[in-house]
């Protein structure tokens, strides 16, 4: 059976690892989650035109994509 001090150290080590993993995931989420990266800079409305995938015309209005409907 472990002594209480060793058990406490082990517990703290696991907590530190869990905290490090949580911080890493949070950091990854911030960098990789691109929900906000294409938002227009303050004071401007940026609209982009292009495509999302082959021949799939898309407008990004303040970062929000909309695919263009086919004309009748």
């Amino acid at each position: 059976m472990m002594s209480s001090a060793a058990g406490y150290r082990g517990l703290m080590r696991r907590a530190a690892h869990a905290l490090a993993v949580a911080c890493l995931l949070a950091a990854c989420g911030t960098a990789g989650s691109a929900d906000n990266v294409a938002e227009s800079p303050e004071g401007f409305r940026v609209v982009l035109g292009g495509s999302s995938g082959p021949s799939n015309a898309t407008l990004w209005d303040d970062g929000r994509p909309t695919t263009m409907a086919t004309a009748p």
Binding site: V47, G49, S52
Partner: protein, 264 residues
């Protein structure tokens, strides 16, 4: 407001983008038959004329002005609202259109084996003086006509102001995009020797990062916006005064940019 996911409504591509009074206009081609279309706040409408293609878009007073080709012989065509007119010159090919006051300007080329570059002002053709000239972009501000493109056999980059050529001195430069605001001339392109994308503010060159490509240029209140891509995978992005903003969609390609003041 939440993000609206993209849906595949069929194959379409865009060649023009404009915003007037917060209404977004886009032009391009759509569907299996590649029919020319204009979208007004995402509602699509076919452009009149068999085999029509649209290359340039400008909106003035709620009326889209389009240039491109139409008909079985691909005649150079301008559409103003519901009205369609073909240019009288043989093998006319208009690629850019702009409106300044009551005047409508279109730029492009005429001729077949020997092409001449120039512009139409209210339908009247005037060629640039230089041989082998090529028009890449057109801007008209306060009655002054600005054109960027290339000229001569070496396709040297140049800026024309009211028909007068100013060579762009950087060696091996290609200039494709142009904007004028408060008398300041902005243009963008790349250097052929090292493929470095760059834009110029009043002749002062600003390089973007390596492996970048500029697809469009817009200036608002002195702030320079360029769209394009960078890196070996062609990540879509735009730059604000040289600061990059990534588009999160890995399949995105961005060809056009338009910027207004934020109404909020």
């Amino acid at each position: 407001m939440g993000r609206r996911p993209s849906h595949n409504y069929g194959n379409s591509s865009l060649t023009g983008l404009f915003i007037e009074d917060d209404v977004v206009y886009a032009a391009g081609r759509t569907g299996l038959l590649n029919r020319a279309a204009v979208w007004t706040d995402h509602k699509s409408e076919r452009v009149a004329g068999s085999g029509a293609t649209v290359l340039g878009l400008w909106v003035d007073d709620g009326r889209p002005h389009l240039v491109g080709t139409s008909g079985f012989t691909d005649r150079g065509t301008i559409w103003v609202g519901d009205e369609r007119n073909t240019f009288g010159e043989a093998n006319a090919n208009a690629t850019n259109v702009t409106v300044d006051g009551d005047d409508v300007y279109a730029a492009g080329t005429i001729g077949n084996a020997v092409e001449f570059a120039g512009l139409w002002k209210n339908g009247v053709w005037a060629a640039l003086d230089q041989s082998e000239a090529k028009v890449n972009d057109l801007f008209v501000s306060d009655g002054k006509v600005y054109i960027v493109g290339g000229y001569g056999l070496a396709e040297r980059a140049g800026l024309w102001v009211d028909g007068e050529l100013t060579p762009i001195d950087d060696v091996g430069v290609v200039v494709n995009h142009l904007f004028v605001e408060d008398g300041v001339v902005y243009f963008a392109g790349w250097s052929r020797s090292q493929s470095v994308a760059a834009y110029w503010v009043d002749g002062e060159r600003v390089d973007l990062e390596e492996n970048a490509l500029i697809t469009d240029l817009f200036v608002r209140d002195g702030t320079v916006f360029v769209s394009g891509s960078y890196g070996l995978r062609g990540q879509a992005a735009y730059w604000v005064n040289g600061e990059r903003v990534d588009i999160d969609d890995p399949n995105a390609e961005v060809h056009l940019i338009f910027v207004t003041a934020d109404p909020a």
